[in-house]
């Protein structure tokens, strides 16, 4: 019988590497939050002085295809092996995926190889056959958010701002949302275990905020892969987010932060959808509750320009939050592109208020 060591998972600390990373970019984060990935690299390289490989050759892990069942597991395992092989080319051993789905995929694949050595042999063979490549399993696989969590204290020292309401002096009330595939696949891969992962809580509390514990905190955002990709299924996706918002509403959170790019995007967009379809918003001002990526949260506390971080890409406007903290921003800079030209403004939704101060 397998000996199971009992753990108070809340106190569980996983191993997180400290330097020489291979950064695996996320399809969703690159598309929806390119500024977040840029901010992450800037924080690691310029503030923490780490060596991070940003490989132009890297590609998707096929995770979204795998979980929507159009990519067989053998294919996914071999694609993952190719990415590990790319990492080997750069001579680093610590793998940090940006995406939570990818994080789950990499862990699932490695666990499968560990449990079923014949699958490992099969993958090695497939990769060799297809590409002539060899690969090694990384020494450490951590999610990119784990690195920020690990260095939260060092970063705090560099932060001019805190998660504190400057008018009241009270901590901001923050809803944290852990992507399911960060914590629910393998407890030992989640800082603090499956139930009460600390990766975001650690950042929020260290940087002055207060975590809101609401009943549906651990519920999935509702992405559901095929349940969103296919238009006809999106009612599933939005219904799950709605349930979370109904549950958090009485706690009046100031904002939401997620470590998964998909969750961050959905919790933002579904607020718009619910507002337009049903007229409901979950804050007092009909503006919605801002949803941030953890890189955005770290970035603006470190004093990065909100419009270089990409906060203008959120449908729920973030200015009320920036004002609460006291982070300066230039309204004229918000809709300006790389060329320095004004790009025009997005249209205004009918119900969700996007104009601040009216």
């Amino acid at each position: 019988m397998e000996e199971i060591t009992k753990k108070y998972w809340k106190d569980y600390q996983k191993e997180i590497a400290d330097d020489n990373f291979y950064y695996e970019r996320s399809c969703i984060r690159q598309s929806f939050f390119p500024g977040s990935e840029a901010a992450f690299l800037k924080i690691l390289r310029e503030i923490l002085g780490k060596n991070v490989i940003d490989d132009p050759n890297q590609h998707t892990c096929t995770g979204i295809g795998y979980h929507s069942d159009i990519v067989p597991f053998d294919t996914t395992m071999t694609v993952v092996a190719r990415i590990f092989s790319l990492m080997k080319d750069h001579g680093v051993n610590n793998f940090i995926p940006s995406c939570v789905t990818s994080f789950g995929i990499f862990n699932e694949v490695v666990e499968t190889w560990n449990h079923f050595p014949e699958e490992y042999e099969k993958t090695k063979h497939f990769l060799k056959q297809a590409t002539g490549r060899d690969f090694e399993i990384p020494q450490n696989i951590s999610h990119a958010s784990d690195i920020i969590y690990k260095y939260r204290k060092e970063l705090k020292e560099k932060m001019p701002y805190r998660l504190v309401n400057r008018h009241t002096g009270k901590p901001l009330r923050v809803v944290e949302h852990i992507g399911c595939h960060y914590s629910k696949l393998f407890a030992k891969k989640s800082e603090g275990g499956m139930e009460f992962s600390k990766v975001l809580v650690g950042m929020i509390e260290e940087w002055g905020g207060e975590v809101v514990d609401y009943p549906e905190r651990r519920h999935c955002c509702g992405f559901g892969f095929r349940q969103y990709i296919v238009m006809a299924n999106r009612g599933y996706s939005v219904a799950n987010t709605k349930k979370k918002f109904e549950s958090m509403q009485p706690y009046k959170p100031d904002f939401i932060v997620a470590n998964c790019p998909g969750c961050a995007m959905f919790m933002d967009r579904w607020q718009y959808t619910i507002a337009e379809m049903e007229g409901t918003t979950y804050d007092d001002n009909k503006m919605g509750i801002p949803v941030l990526t953890y890189e955005e949260m770290a970035g603006f506390l470190l004093g990065f320009n909100p419009w270089d971080l990409g906060l203008q890409l959120h449908q729920v406007q973030v200015e009320p939050l920036l004002d609460k903290i006291g982070i300066p921003y230039d309204p004229k800079d918000k809709y300006v592109g790389k060329s320095g030209n004004f790009l025009g403004e997005p249209e205004k939704p009918e119900n969700l208020i996007t104009v601040y101060g009216k």
Binding site: E3, I4, T5, K6, Y8, K10, M194, E195, P215, R218
Partner: protein, 343 residues
């Protein structure tokens, strides 16, 4: 005193004390070492006993009569045995305070401990208010009032079976046997105190394998209207008004179920006590889950693989009080047999 044999009993719970009495009746010198400051073991966790609501204190006072004024029995408290080994046909026990006890035979009656519900984080024990264990319920019941952290009587209470039992996530595959009936008992006690309140029991199987258990289950439905929901609670959380939100499946309707209750009672299972595990391992008589292993569950259940080391009660597996008392006596007869054979 010519060559009188001595027996050491580790643990003054129901099994240990019953064994001591039987041995003493046969004119054997018995020393009982108890790690706590009082006897009774897990009886001390109960207010009333299933299935007949007998006062646990009454059983305790009956146990006292077994050893009080008995010149053959010596009970020593606050003696935690840390090492037990065989040496020259004698059993040597060392306690944490440095004492050494020698005997011709030793009975392990080190009993069980209740599962630490904090390991099941999804159930919120130690995290959320108003999630309590069955042991804490007993304590409240003993004090005469079941109340929430806010001090009010629960309008709705739920009991959850199999907390720490039948669960590979915490390494316990087995059934603890006593929790189902304990939940029925506690639900009835609650409804007798507060007939206007509602009581729910979440279960997977209702295992009423004891005399009058099934009758009690039936009574809880018929007389007290306790509602049974077939499904295991998957997750609890705290609502803004400090109620406990529960998620389970009503498997009989194949529907996800959600409800809030004022109090959730976790029916914590039975695990080998620390001393059971340590001493069994030292003597290579440890079985699954850290319990002690007898030679044969049917025919030699009080014998261990070590000559002169005997087992009594729930150090072997989850047992009821009734069974533990009987098992203590049975162990005593095995010891007497052994002593006769050895000289």
């Amino acid at each position: 005193m010519e060559n009188k044999k001595s027996v050491l009993i580790i643990g003054a719970g129901p099994a240990g004390i019953s064994a001591a009495k039987s041995l003493a009746d046969d004119n054997v010198n018995v020393t009982v070492l108890e790690k706590e400051h009082s006897f009774g073991g897990n009886i001390n966790n109960w207010a009333k006993l299933f299935p007949n609501f007998k006062d646990a204190a009454e059983v305790k006072s009956q146990l006292v009569q077994n050893f009080e004024n008995n010149k053959n029995i010596k009970i020593l408290y606050n003696k935690k045995v840390t090492e037990l080994k065989k040496h020259n046909q004698k059993w040597i026990a060392n306690t944490s305070d440095g004492e050494v006890f020698e005997s011709n035979a030793t009975i392990l009656s080190t009993g069980f401990k209740v599962f630490d519900a904090k390991y099941k984080e999804e159930l919120g024990y130690g995290i959320y208010p108003n999630v309590i264990t069955s042991v804490e319920f007993e304590r409240m019941y003993k004090d005469g009032k079941i109340h929430t952290q806010q001090g009010s009587v629960p309008k709705r209470i739920a009991f959850l079976n199999c907390v720490g039992s039948r669960d590979e996530k915490v390494g316990n595959h087995y059934c603890s046997r006593i929790c189902c009936i304990a939940a029925v008992k506690q639900a009835i006690e609650f409804k007798e105190l507060y007939p206007e309140s509602e009581a729910f029991i979440f279960y997977m199987d209702i295992r009423m394998a004891g005399q009058f258990y099934e009758e009690l289950y039936r009574k809880s439905q018929e007389k007290h209207g306790v509602v049974y929901i077939r499904g295991r609670i998957s997750e609890t959380s705290s609502t803004i008004d400090k109620k406990v939100q529960i998620k389970a499946e009503d498997t009989l309707a194949a529907m996800p179920l959600r409800m809030t209750v004022d109090m959730l009672v976790l029916m914590v299972g039975v695990e080998a006590s620390e001393t059971t595990t340590i001493l069994s391992k030292q003597n290579n008589i440890d079985g699954p889950y850290g319990f002690a292993k007898s030679i044969d569950i049917h025919t030699a259940d009080n014998y261990s693989n070590e000559n002169g080391l005997f087992l009594a009660g729930s150090c072997k597996r989850p047992l009821t009080l009734t069974e533990s008392i009987a098992d203590g006596k049975s162990a005593a007869f095995s010891v007497i047999d052994y002593l006769k054979q050895t000289k």
